[in-house]
Amino acid sequence: MENYIIEMLNITKEFPGIIANDNITLQLKKGEIHALLGENGAGKSTLMSVLFGLYQAEKGLIKKNGEEVQINNPGDANNLGIGMVHQHFKLVEIFTVLENIILGVEPNKMGILQKKEAREKVVKLSQKYGLHVEPDALIENISVGMQQRVEILKMLYRDNEILIFDEPTAVLTPQEIDELMNIMRGFTEEGKSILFITHKLNEIMSVADRCTVLRKGKSIGTVEIKDTTKEELSRMMVGRDVNFNLEKKPSVAKDTILSVEGLTVPSQISKKNAVKDVSFDVRAGEILCIAGIDGNGQSELVSAITGLEKFTKGKLTLCGKDITKFNIRNRSKSGMSHIPEDRHKHGLVLDYSLEDNIVLQRYWEPEFQKKGFIKKHEVRSYADKLIKQYDIRSGQGPITTTRSMSGGNQQKAIIAREMDKSYELLVAVQPTRGLDVGAIEFIHKQLIASRDANKAVLLVSLELDEVMDISDRILVIYEGEIVGELDPKATTVEELGLYMSGAKRDEVKESTYAE
């Protein structure tokens, strides 16, 4: 009998029409880092929500130290020493770091808050584990990395010994990821146990002891990391071989498709400019990547190019046409396709059916309407064609409500829509965010196929692997300015990281753009 601190035995959790967890068993040893790997929709989050008391399983039981326990709400989980860092942080923006950490377990004497005690404990914890935070800073003013450290301190403050990390590295720079991995190792030395939800194989290989793989709600198996390989894990996760090395011909960049000159975009949240006098060209047959840490002006830059937001200064030329004053519809007609950053906010009308979303950029074309009436039949057959061509999976085919589809398939629908219309420039903003290996592979292939079809691709990405793997040219954006132009073949992730954090910049490059 091994020493398991938490056992989830034969867990079955069912939602109307779908079994999210089908007889899953997960056993966590004391002091180990146990990775939970699976594609989106594989049931990872559901399983963790069952453990954290957000859902109750229909079948199966949870044991702690060999004894059966009931977890009916997060409070129960907390009492059992289970803590969770959610993918989207649950912090009160206008509270200080300290206030957020003690929220819910405020130390008090007769109802009067004892902040001093709390502060001592927090400072002690942060020193012990190397989790640097500023206790009195407001959450809205600190970096995402520090916000994550606050979330971790929240768990430690509650003396949790089982720590769940839900996709913790999605928002971090390479340097921060290394730091987090070290902190996690430090926890296990203290005897704490970690459940680490991720779909990044590199991280699992570097930090985890064991890994349980889920696929379509079923447990595929639990493996020792030292006995396995990245390839094997991905095969278990996706159910087939995944090609990590993208086959890519060298780019043959041709004519300039999009030319951006002196673009200045005001910020939505402050009085400063989010994008400052940025100029660059995107040419046919190349993937130009804008790399940078989130919040350095990428979103504003793209909004200005695609027409979602107005900009104060600058000129945009698409295929030789001045589109500075064009509205969104006319930019689209002039040959711009846009895979937006937020597929739920901008990319899809979630309450519309899949077919209605597929024609979202084209419903007004004569192919799909006659005198203002939608040609339902043509829409249906067009949707069927794209669903087949791009392998978009959904419950009821073209009439599925988009909201009920998985993230990967929603993204596929957007990509199908944007790449099947006639276009010269494809603007793709974080096209693989939150997607699983299979979907990422598919999207990367599509982007490269688009480049090989002699289209211009402007990619904005926060994922360094993605930047390095698929781009032909990298522009690094820092605080609204382009600080460097790099060749992915001649640079390293570390160098890229230095540019992204503002530690390094090329002054020379900018002058070449100024004409």
């Binding site: 034969n10 079994i19 007889n23 229909e58 079948k59 979602l308 509205n327 979630l350 309450d351 519309y352």
Partner: protein
């Protein structure tokens, strides 16, 4: 062909459809509202509660013509509110648009001298125009400078009502100051009656239903409807798709205003049975038209769907007629306003109730499964758990 009929009769398919689930939610809300009304009646006058309540339920059937007649204006204002709501706009200004439409119709009725058969049509169109103008202005403000339409609409309810009262009182042709009301309209301006005895029901009701059907087609078959609903569901995505939301906002408010205006026109152009040459009259007493607000209730109960609104308008009119009859049992007709209020309240909770009902059915089903499991024997071995899971899955697929 036979297959088509069969598929229409396929109950499971109907059960799955969105329309069905909003229908069940509305029916549930109605049932709860009526129960609540009954309880209030029991408390107020226990001995007469049962005859009174049966009048609420069935009284309307005795005056079916009146039910349709009174349903007409609230059907129009309901369509107005529901149509705007599809685009995510809350047209609380249906009252003002209704008053405007009524005044324009009155003006055309008294001041234009037109032949029979054309005059009333012109009056209706004038009402449509009046409502459109009153919907256009809040729409314009919303589109140009993003002024919340709720605020402008409420202000325009007052502006519209006072303007109409002022115009009516200052017009010697339409206003009879000795009776503090408008005069009877010339016969050529009155809507043709449908000839149901002892009721005022007229062709307006038929036109209103036709308009509802046209709106249904616009919403579901045209690219304008597609754009409008897309904006209502997700204005960011519709902006991203290049939909001109400013133009659509104005257009939607103009149409919504026009619909409410038609409601006003249908109400005032109705002939009154029993009085030779009599028609409906308007008393300028500085009160905002209640039919505009009733339209909000109608639209909510009808889930903003034009077809649903036809039925909800008739239903609300039905219990209102029944409610006035409860006076025979010594109840105040306001009792019915309570019932309607409770129904609307529960309709707003419909989503919550749908989930609650779903959970109840599911847990019932699960209990049934468990009993079956026990019949087989305790589900200890993995095989049996798998079997049970498969059963659950097949049921899940059906649901």
């Amino acid at each position: 062909m036979q297959n088509k009929i069969l598929s229409l009769l396929d109950f499971k398919k109907i059960k799955k459809s969105k329309g069905f689930s909003s229908l069940t939610a509305a029916l549930l809300a109605i049932a709860l509202g009526l129960i609540f009304g009954f309880i209030v009646m029991l408390i107020a006058r226990p001995s007469r509660a049962i005859p009174g309540f049966s009048k609420v339920l069935f009284g309307g059937f005795r005056r079916i013509g009146d039910v349709f007649y009174f349903a007409t204006p609230i059907l129009m204002t309901g369509l107005s509110v529901g149509f705007a709501f599809k685009m995510g706009l809350f047209n609380i200004g249906a009252s003002g648009q209704y008053s405007m439409g009524m005044f324009f119709a009155l003006y055309a009725g008294f001041m234009f001298d037109l032949p029979d058969g054309i005059h009333w049509i012109v009056c209706i169109l004038a009402g449509f125009l009046g409502g459109m103008i009153w919907g256009f202005i809040p729409g314009l403000f919303k589109a140009i400078s993003n002024v919340n339409e709720v605020i402008t609409c409420i202000m325009f309810n007052y502006i519209g009502m006072y303007l109409v009262d002022m115009w009516v009182q200052s017009n010697g042709t339409m206003y009879v100051s000795s009776q503090t009301r408008t005069d009877y309209l010339p016969a050529s301006a009155q809507l043709p009656s449908l000839g149901i005895p002892n009721s005022n029901v007229n062709i307006g009701f038929i036109i209103a239903i036709l308009i509802a059907i046209v709106l249904y087609i616009i919403l579901n078959k045209t690219i304008f409807g597609y754009e409008l609903k897309a904006t209502g569901f997700n204005k960011f995505a519709s902006k991203y798709a290049g939909i001109n939301d400013k133009r659509n906002t104005i257009l939607t408010m103009v149409i919504a205003g026009g619909l409410a205006g038609l409601g006003g026109a249908f109400a005032i152009l109705a002939p009154v049975s029993g009085i030779a040459g009599g028609s409906m009259t308007y008393e300028p007493i500085n009160v905002i038209a209640a039919n505009g607000f009733n339209g909000i209730a109608v639209a909510l109960l009808g889930n903003s769907s034009p077809i649903g609104i036809i039925f909800s308008a008739i239903f609300i009119s039905h219990i209102q007629r029944g409610g006035t009859l409860t006076a025979l049992n010594g109840f105040k007709p306001e009792i019915i306003d309570i019932v309607i209020a409770v129904i609307i309240y529960f309709t707003a909770f419909s989503l919550l109730m749908k989930t609650a009902l779903g959970n109840f059915i599911n847990s019932h089903r699960r209990r049934k499964n468990r009993v079956e499991d026990e019949n087989i024997g305790a589900p200890t071995s993995d095989d049996e758990v798998v079997v049970a899971n498969q059963e659950v899955r097949s049921e899940g697929e059906e649901a």
